[in-house]
């Protein structure tokens, strides 16, 4: 293959300027990438800001991470920590101190070098409680600060208050100090880089530069010629000229755009959308590929009971492991997948997200759908007779009934709850199901505690240690039981979570989290239901994407957080 001379020239120049580039590995080495072209993606809502200290949701932070670099992230192929702006690191002091070496030669798009000063400044602003950055959680462990200090221009050091397993993952945006410093000193740092800012003033240290933002319509980013990344052959990245997000609030409208060939990627929500895409591909009107059910997403749906119920009869019932296991036997996960998820999804039995392969295990207790078994277990805990309404009663004549709520408007959860309530009714458990508004649900869980059972979900992720607020005894999301009486298995879970977060060796960590999943699946403080499928689709002209067998919903369709390996086939 012959390369134009200018590419060689750029290459030579790049090698000269950038002594220590980061090599981004392509998912499919047999492809030969081409430079140029627009990559068209979609987002359901506008970025609200370009300021990483202000961003409160993914529609903003997804865009920001394209132009503000992180120190490290997970390797998309192995799931292990990997340097981005960081070239290498040393772990010292039994894991309490980590020294990060930055890439020398990396520059901001305005030509100034990216140095330790930028990193230390950014850490200081993120950690400042008066700024209100969402990333503040990356700078504290149980209320004690992680201390960042500069060693020299290209070396920084982080000191942890205790050993912390995910310490090597430092995924927060680094800003150019020379741009933000003055505003921070004046206390106006949150006014920087709002949506009205001229894109030309926004400095980039990532693969793309903000080029255009039309509110409610699109975000256009162009390639950063000074980016510090190269491919395995040493060619400068990214390949794309422009990365364009079209903002389409309605998912059906986004589908129509993909069907018309106006979007390069799409994630089909349900079986109906998958069918529409397949139809169009088969009729030859769309040159695309779809992988239905390629993986499941990290979102979860689970039922939990209120052990702190004011009604002591109910509180005691909900605390009974046998009762919870009987309820699990009433969950017809196959029908839930069929009816709530449109046929695409997987049953979930334990708390760690199925795509988090480094920790996930399938070797846990499974209480499969079995109403007869459920009835038998309920009889064992005293519900032997039925009253005139056909509801099971205990020896004192109290009927087995409780309320179940989920958040209104979430069709998947509403259907799961209905299916469960119907199946329960068949054996004489009266589940009074009613959807309520999400914020009201949160209030009931965290403040008023006046619920019986709730079906809700938490977004999972790769790192189980980040779930500590759910599983540790004093965690604010220990939703089923805020104490003071804890069961022995809850204390065990608390211990496992603390161990998992402070053990550094990967194989030992896996053992701990496997045990954790087994304890949860056996005791069911949260009873998991089904996880929706991930059904990625793409136009065939797009290269540099994961082939089918490598697709996982944590990464998406291409490796790394930004489309640096993506190119438009010629």
């Amino acid at each position: 293959m012959k390369k134009p001379i200018w590419i060689l020239a750029v290459l030579a120049l790049g090698a000269l300027v950038l002594a220590q580039p980061k090599v981004f590995k392509a998912p499919n080495p047999s492809e030969s990438p081409a430079y140029g072209g627009d990559f068209r993606d979609v987002s359901t809502s506008d970025p609200k800001t370009f300021n990483p200290f202000v961003a409160k949701e993914t529609s903003s932070s997804d865009v920001i991470s394209l132009f503000l670099p992180w120190l490290t992230d997970y390797n998309p192929y192995t799931g292990e920590p990997e340097g981005l702006l960081v070239k290498s690191w040393e772990i010292k002091n039994n894991g309490l101190t980590i020294v990060f070496h930055l890439r020398e030669g990396a520059v901001w798009s305005d030509g100034k070098p990216i140095t330790a000063d930028d990193v230390i400044f950014s850490a200081k602003v993120h950690a400042d409680p008066d700024v209100g950055s969402n990333s503040i959680k990356s700078f504290e462990i149980d209320g004690s600060p992680i201390v960042w200090s500069k060693i020299d221009d290209y070396t920084v050091q982080a000191d942890f208050p205790k050993p912390f397993a995910p310490a090597l993952i430092q995924g927060w945006s680094i800003v150019p100090k020379h741009v933000f410093e003055k505003a921070y000193a004046e206390g106006t740092v949150t006014e920087m880089w709002d949506v009205g800012t001229d894109p030309a003033q926004i400095v980039s240290g990532g693969p793309f530069i903000l080029d255009q933002f039309v509110q409610g319509e699109r975000v256009v980013l162009k390639k950063n010629p000074n980016f510090w990344g190269v491919d395995e052959k040493g060619n400068p990245l990214p390949y794309l000229d422009r990365y364009i997000f079209t903002i389409v609030p309605d998912i059906n409208a986004a589908l129509a755009k993909f069907l018309a060939g106006e979007l390069d990627l799409y994630g089909a929500r349900d079986a109906d959308q998958v069918a529409q895409i397949i139809d169009r591909i088969d009729s030859g009107k769309l040159d695309a590929t779809i992988f239905p059910n390629a993986d499941v997403t990290t979102s979860t749906n689970f039922v939990f009971f209120n052990w702190n119920n004011e009604d002591t009869w109910k509180a005691e019932l909900f605390r009974n492991k046998k009762f919870r296991q009987a309820m699990a036997h009433l969950m017809d996960k196959e029908s839930m997948i069929e009816l709530a998820l449109g046929g695409l999804g997987q049953p979930q039995w334990s708390p760690i997200s199925i795509p988090a392969k480094a920790f996930f295990t399938d070797d846990v207790a499974k209480f499969e759908y079995d109403p007869a078994k459920a009835a038998q277990m309920l009889a064992e805990i005293g519900f032997r007779n039925k009253n005139a309404q056909g509801v099971l009663v205990d020896a004192s004549g109290r009927a087995l009934e409780f309320r179940l709520a989920t958040n209104q408007g979430n069709n998947v959860r509403e259907k799961i709850a209905q299916l469960f309530a119907e199946d329960a009714k068949k054996i004489g458990v009266n589940v009074k199901y009613a959807p309520i508004a999400f914020n009201e649900l949160v209030r009931q869980i965290l403040n008023t505690r006046d619920f019986d059972a709730i079906l809700i979900g938490l977004t999972g992720g790769r790192e189980p240690a980040f779930g500590r607020n759910v599983w540790e005894l004093d965690g604010p999301l220990h939703m089923w039981n805020y104490g003071p009486d804890f069961e022995s298995f809850e204390i065990l879970i608390d211990k496992l979570m603390k161990q998992g977060a402070t053990t550094l060796e990967q194989s030992k960590r896996r053992e701990i989290y496997v045990r954790f999943q087994q304890v949860v699946a056996e005791n069911l403080p949260l009873t998991y239901t089904v996880a929706p499928a991930y059904n990625p689709a793409r136009l065939n002209k797009i290269g540099g994407l994961f082939p089918k067998e490598q697709i996982n919903s944590l990464e998406g369709q291409y490796p790394y957080n930004y489309p640096v390996t993506v190119f438009i086939k010629k």
Partner: protein, 332 residues
């Protein structure tokens, strides 16, 4: 008349205070606030959540929050959006302008289409034409806006399949490229042409319900006026049918319609509704929906207060217009 106008303006003050206070109260009555969604994120500690509340002023009593907002409003400042961390007006302005393209076009569409049809239907009552338009009116009023918009999107897709190229765009307001150059570098008239091309389908969707409604109003008005004594008198005088219809019937029949023009004022600043969400038109509606979901109080309040002020002015304007077109009405 001047005294009347001044008096009406003074009435606006308590109405405005009452309306905005009520709106603020209703937003607060709904459970949760801007930070609630972070509370179910396992990666935040309680102290961090409380700190966010403090920074956004959400820990203060709501009367204090309202007073702060009101004092800002009086100085012409709509407040700081919680999610955008910038002046609310800066967020609202481009969206209102985008929405206006749709709203103005659909108002023109509604009036141009429905008044002639209404007249026709009334003059040929129970004819086949009248029946056809009546059926159309019921359809127009009955079909939900968002569903009609979705049908239009698939219609555009179907057109594209049938003709091999885009007859109408599939959502959006501007093309990425116009004649091979970036939209914002194209000549101004080409930009406008492109926006109008994108507006065709949304305007039809946004205008259909209005057209159907106004058509019926116009028809009823005409029918009612037709029965009046002065019309019989005019005919008895031997005036030509043309003069009777246009000078005697029509001019009296349109009075309430002209009077209602004042009410269009708040509509201009209120967004074109759900069609904007479905057809990815970057108008006010998707922004407001987003703000409601995330309980960004000041965006919601900004939009409500603008609407309230315009509604009140529009109301006044309607009354004045009425006095102008109808000699029987005088204010003193």
């Amino acid at each position: 008349m001047t005294a009347y106008i001044i008096r009406r303006f003074l009435h606006l003050i308590p109405t405005f205070l009452g309306a905005t206070f009520l709106a603020f109260l209703v937003i607060q009555l709904a459970p949760g606030d801007f930070i609630t969604r972070l509370e179910l994120d396992p990666s935040y500690d309680r102290a961090q959540i409380e700190n966010f509340r403090r920074l956004f002023g959400l820990d203060q009593p709501f009367t204090v929050q309202y007073a702060k907002w009101l004092s800002g409003f009086l100085k012409g400042y709509l407040g700081l959006s919680l999610s955008y961390q910038t002046d609310v007006w800066q967020v609202l302005k481009p969206r209102i302008l985008n929405s206006m393209v749709l709203v103005i076009s659909s108002i023109v569409f509604v009036y141009v289409v429905s008044i002639p049809i209404g007249i026709y239907s009334a003059l040929r009552q129970y004819s086949w034409g009248d029946r056809f338009w009546t059926t159309f009116a019921f359809f127009g009023l009955a079909v939900p806006n968002f569903f009609f918009a979705l049908l239009m999107l698939y219609f555009a897709l179907w057109l594209k399949d049938t003709f091999g190229h885009e007859i109408f765009p599939i959502g959006g307001m501007r093309s990425l490229y116009v004649d091979g150059v970036d939209f914002f570098e194209a000549p101004k008239w080409r930009q406008w042409l492109d926006v109008m091309w994108h507006a065709v389908l949304p305007v039809i969707v946004a205008g259909t319900a209005g057209t159907a409604g106004l058509m019926r109003v116009m028809r009823t008005q005409m029918l009612e006026t037709k029965m009046q004594d002065y019309v019989r008198t005019a005919r008895a005088k031997g005036l030509s049918e043309r003069v009777v219809i246009y000078k005697h019937i029509l001019r009296n029949a349109v009075i309430p319609i002209i009077a209602s023009i004042g009410f269009l004022l708040p509509e201009l600043f209120g967004g074109a509704g759900f069609v904007e969400v479905v057809m990815a038109w970057p108008g006010l509606t998707p922004l407001i929906l987003d703000a409601i979901f995330s309980i960004d109080v000041y965006i919601i309040m900004g939009s409500i207060s603008i609407s309230v002020v315009l509604l009140m002015i529009g109301n006044l304007l309607s009354d004045l217009l009425l006095a102008w077109v109808d000699p029987r009405i005088r204010y003193s």
